[in-house]
Symmetry: C2
Subunit: 143 residues, 2 copies
Amino acid sequence: MSTPVAPLPEWLDAVRFDAAGLVTAVAQDVTSGRVLMVAWMNREALALTQREGRAVYWSRSRGQIWRKGESSGHVQRVREIRLDCDGDTVLLAVEQVGGIACHTGREHCFFRRLDPSSSQWETTEAVRVDPEQLYGPTTTETS
Amino acid sequence: MSTPVAPLPEWLDAVRFDAAGLVTAVAQDVTSGRVLMVAWMNREALALTQREGRAVYWSRSRGQIWRKGESSGHVQRVREIRLDCDGDTVLLAVEQVGGIACHTGREHCFFRRLDPSSSQWETTEAVRVDPEQLYGPTTTETS
């Protein structure tokens, strides 16, 4: 567990966290309009995102707060935070520093496209940066 | 329970459904690039989405398959299906028939924006169509 942000701001009351205390977070590139990735936030991560002006997620696999770009330097600067009608998803307009949002070294995470003719997943985006160069041989950043 | 789609196509094997059998689905407008909504799909909903070329979700609140637009007519025609790096989110490029994606009668669901100066949610999008006109007085379409 990391240190809680106290006191938690009032605007968080409109957010409907699920039974695990999480909401879905969609990061969209403010320039290209591309959906870069989808991850999770708990109350603290969302509060930190607003306070620090950078995307902070909750890593379900590691069970800890995850400041996007903390290992890779590929920070997401947050330009806008939106909330959906039923309050369980936030949409971030971000500036993706370094241009690589995906831990595979690609620009975004949605690099598999269902080919309508073959009904197979095809990889549409190249690896731009070797993941080892981003994170080192042993660590990574995953949701 | 609705009728299963059998046999389920092979490309579904790459999708990592969660413990509840669901994946997150993000619908993005193919023309404007706007993120319209985020909902959920089970295996059947995703298979139907591909087969019918329109967004079919799983309604967690109603516990059933939900063909987007089945009440309102505001169908989402699916132009592309993408899968993210860890396989637990699909991204749909859609053409939003009728222009109204949100059950509140707005063009999209992310109509609340966190105002950086006041730290309050502000509503940035007007209601375009009375929800009662979309669904009638008693029914609705929700995730």
